[in-house]
């Protein structure tokens, strides 16, 4: 009796669902030939394929044309979530998430720089705009693109919440791939790095626990975590007392940052890239090219 209606609804729904389904992990991921970007000579997606090919930019730094090493152990990407018009969650009447994430990022940057890391931040002020004309607001995919271009040893997505206490760590919910082949679609690029991300999370849990900071460790689907091609995790800071404004406590943020920086020093010395990026197998990535 309802079959014709269901069929019509299904057709209508496909139109609404299609962009997501076409990019989703269980759906077809083949873009139309008209929108396909010229493939880059690397084995995993660095930035989301653009709908229209961009005009070639005039290179300013010839060093940038050299192929980047596949795994920069000393480079850490920090993404203070939200910014600009996007306030993120409201922690209290006077505190919004974007300010907390930026403050924590500054603490981390100074500690990591002092320990010899090259720190790349997706934003370093309230604005979250592109650093080149037309200075458009950064999308989540832009942030992932910035991180992926660095081939970083670790990517930290900083968030903040009023719920719970301490630090919440999340790795991708994607099922880990073997790592022997290149990652596939943009929305599941993290799959090849999930084991590394889980090891990194374990190091951070140890360090935070040693610093007596409550830690919750789990898996979640948070944009753009699944598109990152580096050991990546979401670090969500929660207040350390019942007062939500305690999340702004400089001493608390410093304590968290010191624990994270200490764990990253240990991580730098022990981290191993996925097999397709492992040194000594220069053809590993080439083999995986279609």
């Amino acid at each position: 009796m309802f079959a014709p209606q269901t069929a019509v609804l299904g057709t209508l729904l496909l139109t609404a669902l299609a962009p997501g389904l076409a990019r989703g992990q269980t759906a077809s991921t083949s873009p139309a030939p008209a929108t396909r970007q010229t493939p880059e000579p690397q084995s995993f997606p660095v930035a989301q394929p653009a709908a229209q090919p961009a005009a070639p930019a005039k290179p300013r730094n010839y060093l940038a044309l050299l192929p980047a090493p596949p795994f920069n152990r000393t480079t850490i990407v920090i993404d203070p979530a939200h910014g600009g018009a996007d306030n993120g969650s409201r922690i209290s009447d006077s505190t919004v998430e974007k300010n907390v994430t930026l403050a924590l990022a500054f603490h981390l940057r100074s500690l990591l720089t002092a320990r010899g890391f090259n720190v790349v931040m997706t934003r370093d002020n309230d604005d979250a705009n592109e650093k080149a004309p037309p200075f458009a607001p950064l999308t989540l995919d832009d942030r992932a693109g910035i991180a992926n271009h660095e081939r970083a040893g670790a990517c930290l997505l900083l968030h903040a919440t009023a719920a719970g206490s301490g630090v919440h760590l999340y790795t991708s919910e994607l099922a880990p791939s073997s790592g022997e082949t290149a990652a596939g679609p943009w929305l599941t690029a993290q799959a090849a790095w999930v084991p590394q991300s889980q090891h990194l999370a374990a190091r951070l849990v140890e360090a935070l626990t040693r610093s007596r900071i409550p830690v919750v460790n789990g898996a979640a689907s948070v944009r753009p975590l699944d598109s990152l091609t580096c050991p990546a995790l979401v670090l969500e800071l929660a207040p350390h007392t019942d007062d939500p404004d305690s999340i702004n406590d400089d001493g608390y943020q410093q304590r968290v940052a010191e624990a994270v920086a200490g764990a990253l020093v240990f991580w730098k010395n022990t981290a191993q890239p996925p097999p397709h990026l492992a040194p000594g197998e220069p053809n590993a990535t080439a083999k995986s090219q279609p």
Binding site: L21, G24, T29, A81, S89, A163, V216, V222
Partner: protein, 238 residues
């Protein structure tokens, strides 16, 4: 005519009037009963079952756990309406005072659509047009059962649930990675527990795809329907 005869005629006429009145009343009652029976058999409200035990996967922000809870609820018999009613009851539970996962008392869902898997069709490619002005399309999923990219059911009869959330629900506080993830897990787990034919879940907001729930949890991906309860968590049998 004698007086006696006139009296007889009078009483006969009275009797006839009374009998006609009784017959008219009986006929009216019969007719009213027929109309009532007809009205009773017409569907006015969606058919509901009697109150039955229903499993809700309830979350607790304090410890990040998901616990199965049993409630006696009367639900529609139609699967689509049932899925929507389940989500309405779930969010209403969180709107109660003292809830461990406080949410605003709003209607969360515009509609739930259950699509039989595999989903096969073509999607309009955003921004791309052919020379003659027609929109280019991309194959959403192949009808070829051997295509690994096709959205295929794990078992015959499996369904994709498309939950169209209301903007008023999505944009309300609180937000955060944990809170939003727990909200999605609660919805997915509740559907899984009560409608096992649902294998995958997708979310829309006011009919459109959207990147995140409230800035954090991913709404672009297709979630597998699964038991989301935290291992070891006690079942609430209130």
């Amino acid at each position: 005519m004698s007086i006696f005869a006139r009296r007889v005629v009078f009483w006969v006429l009275v009797a006839c009037i009374v009998a006609a009145g009784i017959m008219l009343f009986a006929h009216h009652e019969r007719r009213r009963g027929r109309v009532e029976r007809l009205a009773d058999s017409m569907p006015i409200d969606a058919p509901y079952t009697d109150a039955e035990p229903v499993t809700l996967d309830l979350v607790n922000d304090a410890n990040g756990t998901v616990t199965a809870a049993t409630r006696q609820i009367a639900l529609p018999t139609d699967s689509t309406a049932r899925a929507r009613a389940l989500l309405d009851h779930l969010i209403a539970e969180y709107a109660l005072p003292g809830s461990p996962h406080p949410l605003q008392p709003v209607v969360p869902v515009n509609e739930v659509f259950l699509l039989p898997l595999p989903v096969v069709g073509h999607a309009v490619t955003e921004g791309a047009q052919t020379a003659d002005g027609h929109s280019a399309t991309t194959l959403v999923a192949s009808s070829n059962p051997n295509d690994p990219n096709a959205v295929q059911p794990h078992t015959p009869g499996g369904e994709l649930a498309v939950i169209d959330l209301r903007g008023s629900f999505v944009n309300q506080p609180p937000s955060g990675v944990e809170v939003e993830t727990l909200t999605l897990l609660s919805m997915i787990g509740t559907l899984h527990a009560n409608l096992p034919q649902i294998e995958q879940v997708r979310f829309l907001v006011d009919g459109q795809s959207r990147e995140t729930l409230a800035g954090h949890a991913d709404l672009l991906r297709t979630y597998p329907s699964r038991d989301t309860t935290t291992p070891g968590a006690q079942t609430d049998l209130r």
